[in-house]
């Protein structure tokens, strides 16, 4: 995750709303990936808001269509803030460690089953942990720490609410409270260590 730390540090130099183009360019530079294609398709947002896909069969029409690049598929039917957040979370999978990709039918089935209802008898799979990490990584890129501290102070004074913060960050309001949970800093420190 060393490379993510560099992205995180770069994002600290940006101001809300943090541009996805900036995050994308820095991510490509740090990971050595040439390009990521982002497209919109008709996904049911009750079930799935988007997905990240890397495939290697050069003969397959979809791989040919996207020139062998990684693809981020986003649901058409979601607002701008959701689109930004889902895109950024999926982009974070370019930082997946060697053991985190969902690269077999068995891991895929386990991931989907765990997303349906996490297991209670064994530790979460690397793939599921990577999904969770992506969410916190996206959050920490889209809200620079200096702004988060400022928002915390405004919240303490009762001068702003979560909706007002969501509007400035241009992320879904439901993720704003996560920024102010007591575990937030520990999670981010773990991501950038």
């Amino acid at each position: 995750m060393g490379k993510f730390k560099d992205l995180y540090n770069y994002c600290q130099t940006l101001k809300p709303k943090v541009s996805r183009r900036n995050i994308e360019q820095k991510t490509l530079e740090l990971t050595g990936v040439k390009k990521v294609k982002a497209i919109k398709s008709s996904l049911d947002t009750k079930v799935c808001r988007g997905f990240f896909l890397s495939a290697e069969n050069a003969e397959h029409p979809i791989v040919k269509l996207f020139g062998g690049n990684h693809v981020i598929v986003l649901a058409r039917d979601q607002n701008y803030c959701w689109e930004r957040f889902v895109y950024t979370k999926e982009l974070m999978h370019l930082f997946d460690n060697d053991d985190e990709p969902t690269d077999s039918a068995e891991k895929f089935e386990k991931l989907l089953t765990d997303l349906e209802a996490p297991t209670a008898t064994e530790p979460p799979s690397k793939q599921l942990i990577s999904e969770r990490k992506g969410l916190w990584m996206a959050l920490s890129c889209l809200c620079p720490e200096a702004n988060r501290i400022e928002f915390q102070s405004l919240l303490d004074k009762g001068h702003i609410d979560f909706y007002g913060i969501a509007l400035q960050l241009r992320i879904p309001e439901q993720y704003v409270p996560l920024l102010f949970q007591s575990r937030y800093e520990a999670i981010v420190q773990n991501l950038i260590k």
């Binding site: 900036n22 890397s54 349906e116």
Partner: protein, 65 residues
């Protein structure tokens, strides 16, 4: 396991299909979604992409710093 999940496993991971090396997803708002429901959405999206039913996202609309 459901039919959609079985279909997705083959379409994604067979070496003569996509030969996927990584797939991750952002679950939607319903807590009732099953593994088969997730697979169905992925299958749908793959079929749409194959038939050209998609639009590219233009990130340039977001002003760079």
């Amino acid at each position: 396991m459901g039919q959609q999940l079985e279909l997705a496993k083959k379409r994604l991971f067979d070496k003569d299909a996509l030969a996927v090396t990584n797939i991750k997803l952002f679950p939607g708002s319903s807590r009732d979604a099953t593994a088969n429901d997730f697979a169905e959405q992925i299958n749908k999206a793959i079929s749409q992409i194959e038939s050209g039913d998609f639009v590219e996202v233009n990130l340039d609309s977001e002003v760079a710093a």
